[in-house]
């Protein structure tokens, strides 16, 4: 394929020892598309996201983002860096830089990676802090923020990168129930103008936000389609069982 917009994943394979976690995944993502991955625990959903940013190294397959194509089995340091600079990641455990304030967490990559001036980065960070509802907490260190606030900074940090693809890995799984709503609200707003691949167990949220839902089981995409089809007319027996269980 030679289209140079969107994201292409071909034959993505990941093994941990004898176990196959990702079993030659194929997936195309159109620019602006929002895809939600659902499925039982341990079926490779998070591993798929982590492999796309090379946080886990895939064993084989091809990852294409825009005009960049990376062959997983022989990816060089430079290619991995280039790929990471086109993606952004939101972590389940927030993973904010512990030695940086909320504002610095957002500006860090802008000044260090994107070589933006400190003044420009600060201006951008202030706009984002306002957008994530933390305009008055810019100077707070992560340890001084609630779980919900930390995850909003984590999303803000990813927003600042203006990446071609935002990977969001179970953004509310580590949160106390009281903070889940504010994080999902923010993600809904971000999704309006951002290509996203989201792993979540929040089915209502998935249904609202997704253009397409992927159901994964055993390292494969078992079924995919628009939310209405997936939730109202599930075909595969495993998907039916899964939906009954979480329903």
């Amino acid at each position: 394929m030679s289209c140079d917009t969107g994201i292409r994943i071909e034959g993505l394979l990941k093994r941990f020892g004898e176990r196959t976690i990702l079993d030659r995944i194929n997936l195309d993502i159109a620019p602006g598309e929002r895809i939600v991955i659902i499925g039982p625990s341990g079926t490779g959903k998070s591993t798929l996201l982590r492999c796309l940013a090379f946080l886990d190294r895939p064993d084989a397959g091809l990852i294409g983002v825009g005009d960049l194509e990376v062959e997983a089995s022989k990816a060089s340091r430079r290619e991995i860096l280039a790929l990471r600079r086109r993606t952004a990641f939101v972590f389940q455990n927030y993973a904010l830089f512990a030695n940086k304030t909320a504002r610095q967490n957002i500006t860090e990559a802008l000044t260090v990676v994107k070589r933006m001036s400190q003044a420009d980065a600060d201006a951008r960070a202030d706009a984002i802090l306002a957008e994530i509802g933390l305009a008055d907490r810019g100077d707070a260190y992560p340890a001084a923020l609630s779980g919900g606030q930390q995850q909003r900074v984590g999303i803000g940090r990813a927003m600042a990168l203006e990446a071609e693809l935002m990977l969001v890995d179970e953004p509310t799984s580590a949160l106390d129930p009281e903070w889940v709503g504010e994080v999902l609200d923010l993600l809904r707003r971000v999704a309006a103008h951002q290509t996203m691949l989201i792993v979540t167990h929040e089915m209502q949220f998935a249904r609202e936000i997704a253009d397409r839902i992927l159901f994964m089981d055993g390292g494969r995409i078992v079924e995919e389609g628009p939310p209405a089809a997936i939730f109202e007319r599930p075909q595969d027996a495993r998907l039916q069982t899964f939906l009954r269980r979480v329903g």
Binding site: A53, F54, L55, L81, R84, R85, T87, A88, F89, F91, N93, Y94, A95, L96, F97, A98, N99, K100, E108, A109, V112, V113, Y141, A143, A144, R157, L161
Partner: protein
């Protein structure tokens, strides 16, 4: 009276004159050793090919042999190998020896501190596209420094006391001065007691700074 307190008191100003030399050697050695140790630790953590093996041997050697032997190697042995080192003076040899010796110990504690930093910090840095060195310098090392600071200050205290070994290279520092005074008066107990008390006072002052620093370092991370 067994101990001549009056004589001791008269010795204090004499010995104190050598405190700047002692602290000078210690501070210069510490400063260079810190930079060197950080570099050595990074090479080990990132497993830089070849360099990693060399650094492992370096650390093993300087931790595995006595400081006194190392100082003698630099002062008496090096000129035999390198004619240019023939003019090396005792202070320089002591600073080189102390620097290399303590850099090996400090590299290991910095490495330990780096390895103790949560994996999420590395992943976060990688995910925004930082190189390993950017990540190390801006995210990992500052956090590791906080963890390693108490240990590193302990090494500094040890280093200050170890400067007394420069005496064996013919350097007249506090110990050398005391030896000279005692040689004239035959009052060895008093002379060395004064040296001991001055070292003790310096170390106590540093321990006070150390406690204050630990409180400060922790501040950024509390609510």
């Amino acid at each position: 009276m067994v101990v001549d307190l009056e004589y001791m008191a008269s010795l204090v100003p004499v010995i104190l004159r050598y405190v700047p030399l002692t602290l000078g050697m210690a501070i210069i050695s510490m400063a260079i050793a810190l930079v060197l140790a950080a570099a050595l630790a990074i090479v080990r953590v990132l497993r830089v090919p070849v360099a990693d093996r060399i650094v492992a041997v370096y650390i093993s050697f300087f931790r595995g042999t006595p400081l006194l032997v190392q100082l003698f190697l630099f002062y008496y042995g090096l000129p035999q190998l390198l004619p240019a080192a023939r003019s090396i003076d005792g202070v320089t040899a002591a600073v080189i020896g102390l620097t290399l010796h303590f850099s090996a110990y400090m590299a290991e504690s910095i490495r330990g501190a780096i390895l103790g930093i949560d994996r999420s910090q590395w992943e976060a840095g990688a995910s925004v596209g930082m190189t390993e060195l950017q990540l190390m310098r801006r995210i990992i090392l500052p956090q590791a420094a906080r963890v390693a600071a108490p240990t590193l200050l302990n090494y500094f205290i040890d280093l200050i006391k170890s400067t007394s070994l420069a005496f064996t290279l013919g350097v007249t520092e506090m110990m050398g001065a005391a030896q000279k005074e005692a040689a004239g008066s035959f009052r060895y107990l008093e002379a060395f007691l004064v040296v001991a008390l001055i070292y003790w006072a310096i170390v106590e002052a540093l321990s006070f700074v150390q406690r204050r620093m630990e409180v400060r370092l922790a501040r950024a991370f509390v609510r």
